[in-house]
């Protein structure tokens, strides 16, 4: 049985799809059979980010409703060995998914693959409960913003109540420059609230935008700050002890006060 990892967040637009695509790619490049499932129905864009949009014929709903075989809905990535995509239906809404069917499909996938990465809706959106069903591991994506941390915190609470066994978070879009200026929450600031293990830190990196536009995950080629961070995260998922970069940390109280008072 492969490992099922749901990728979710508190609020939208924090990098779930980006992390799903790149983590999946990085795991596949480390020779693990990996499928990335787009479960963010209606906001389908994983196929775009992975540059596989033109090859999607069937999607997960077709599989769940028995309209096609699982095999025929899996899109094989031609650039990366061992990497597959299962697209989401775009036109249907999230209530169309029957939780039982979802669980069955995820189980089927976990029998075929080493890793099943599920790109989920944000945690307070509809469809979240469906998407996390059958998963034992969750990865919460959070950006160093007060609102993102709050919502991530809430989702962690929800996940802990669903029976997820292993939960960690990824801090995305960290800008050390802003942290140093006292304009952004630092990793310890976020850790102090979330208090679950951190799987990795991904820096703010303009290469992401370009890679999204051309549909080629950064993790395919090394040499970019974010791309390398995804590689490290994949190795941590595999149990390797790769140190999380330590950040310099000063002016903490000043930032904290800004943070608190910004919320009143």
């Amino acid at each position: 049985m492969g490992r099922v990892i749901v990728v979710t967040s508190g609020k939208g637009g924090v990098g779930k799809t980006t992390v799903s695509a790149n983590l999946g790619t990085a795991l596949a490049m480390l020779a693990h059979r990996t499928v990335i499932v787009d479960a963010d129905i209606g906001l389908r864009n994983l196929d775009l980010v992975m540059g596989l949009e033109n090859r999607v014929v069937f999607n997960s709903l077709h599989v769940m409703e028995g309209e096609c075989k699982l095999e025929s809905a899996l899109v094989k990535d031609k650039r990366v060995e061992n990497l597959y995509l299962l697209a989401a239906p775009q036109s249907r809404n999230k209530d169309d998914v029957d939780p039982e069917n979802m669980e069955k499909m995820v189980k089927q996938l976990s029998e075929k693959f080493d890793f099943v990465i599920i790109d989920c809706p944000a945690g307070i959106e509809q469809g979240f409960q469906n998407a996390v069903i059958g998963a034992k591991e969750a990865l919460v994506i959070v950006t160093p913003e007060v609102s993102s941390v709050r919502d991530a915190d809430r989702v962690i609470g929800l996940l802990q109540a669903t029976g997820i066994e292993s939960l960690s978070y990824v801090l995305n879009r960290l800008s050390q420059q802003l942290v140093d200026r006292g304009d952004m929450l630092s990793q310890p600031d976020v850790q102090e609230i979330l208090r679950v293990p951190i799987l990795g830190v991904i820096p703010e990196d303009h290469h992401i935008t370009a890679s999204t536009n051309v549909g080629k995950p950064l993790a395919i080629e090394g040499g970019t700050p974010a791309g390398d961070a995804f590689g490290r995260i994949a190795r941590r998922v595999l149990g390797e002890k790769v140190p999380v970069p330590e950040f310099r940390y000063e002016g903490k109280m000043a930032r904290f006060w800004k943070w608190i008072s910004g919320n009143n």
Partner: protein, 238 residues
């Protein structure tokens, strides 16, 4: 001893706190207390009363007739009886009035404490309208905790805490690391403190009401007992 000194009345959030000296005879007790309450003014109608009688012995008939007069004339009732005499407290028990030998900051020593064995995360709200609440973890930003009595957080309090939610002005908020977004005690509010007053790290503090304002004190230095004594004996006047 004149009547001004033998009956003391003060307002507390729950209603009126009335102390009756043992020098007042039992036959004049009802009249004297009613007259004293009348002098407070019409706005106190319907309030509840904490009656303190020192060593006076009252049987249930005496207590009941007192209750009836109170009810007829002011629509009020005795909610709590502070009496040193076992007989008086026994009578209170018969009439289902809460009683205690000494007044302890208005907090009910028998109040239930609800214990929450984990961290409250954003969006979570835990409360105990019937006593105290104990959080064995943090109260994160965006989380809220509330109690009619005290709030005790065995971790960092980032979120919003309300103590004395039903008006108990003696209720306190205690936390190992006080970083609250907002504190509320009996309808009074306080917001996050400025950074220079607050230090990080485990540093137990207590938030309490003093002269209608929420103040935060080092919990170790703060002597709860001393405060209780002041509250119950110092604040009485007519």
């Amino acid at each position: 001893m004149n009547s001004r000194k033998s009956i003391l009345v003060r307002g507390c959030t729950g209603g009126l706190f009335i102390t009756v000296d043992d020098s007042i005879g039992s036959e004049e007790l009802n009249d004297r207390v009613m007259e004293r309450i009348r002098r407070v003014g019409p706005e106190i109608r319907g309030e509840s009363i904490i009656l303190e009688v020192d060593k006076r012995a009252m049987d249930s008939d005496a207590l009941q007739s007192f209750q009836m007069r109170l009810n007829q004339e002011f629509g009020m009732s005795v909610q709590q009886l502070i009496a040193k005499s076992d007989e008086t407290r026994e009578a209170a028990k018969e009439l289902r009035i809460r009683s205690a030998p000494v007044f302890t900051t208005g907090r009910d020593p028998q109040a239930d404490t609800v214990s929450v064995p984990y961290t409250l995360r954003s969006g979570e709200f835990k409360r105990n309208p019937r006593g105290n609440i104990l959080i064995l973890g943090d109260v994160n930003p965006g989380a809220e905790v509330s109690a009619s009595g005290d709030v005790i957080v065995m971790g960092t309090l980032w979120g919003v805490a309300t103590a004395g939610a039903l008006g108990d002005e003696t209720a306190v908020v205690i936390s190992l690391n006080m970083q609250a977004t907002q504190l509320r005690i009996a309808g009074h509010y306080a917001y996050a403190r400025s950074p220079k007053n607050s230090e990080r790290g485990l540093h137990p503090e207590v938030a309490l009401l003093e002269n209608g304002e929420i103040v935060v004190r080092n919990f170790i230095e703060f002597n709860l007992l001393e405060r209780e004594v002041k509250k119950s004996w110092g604040g009485l006047s007519s």
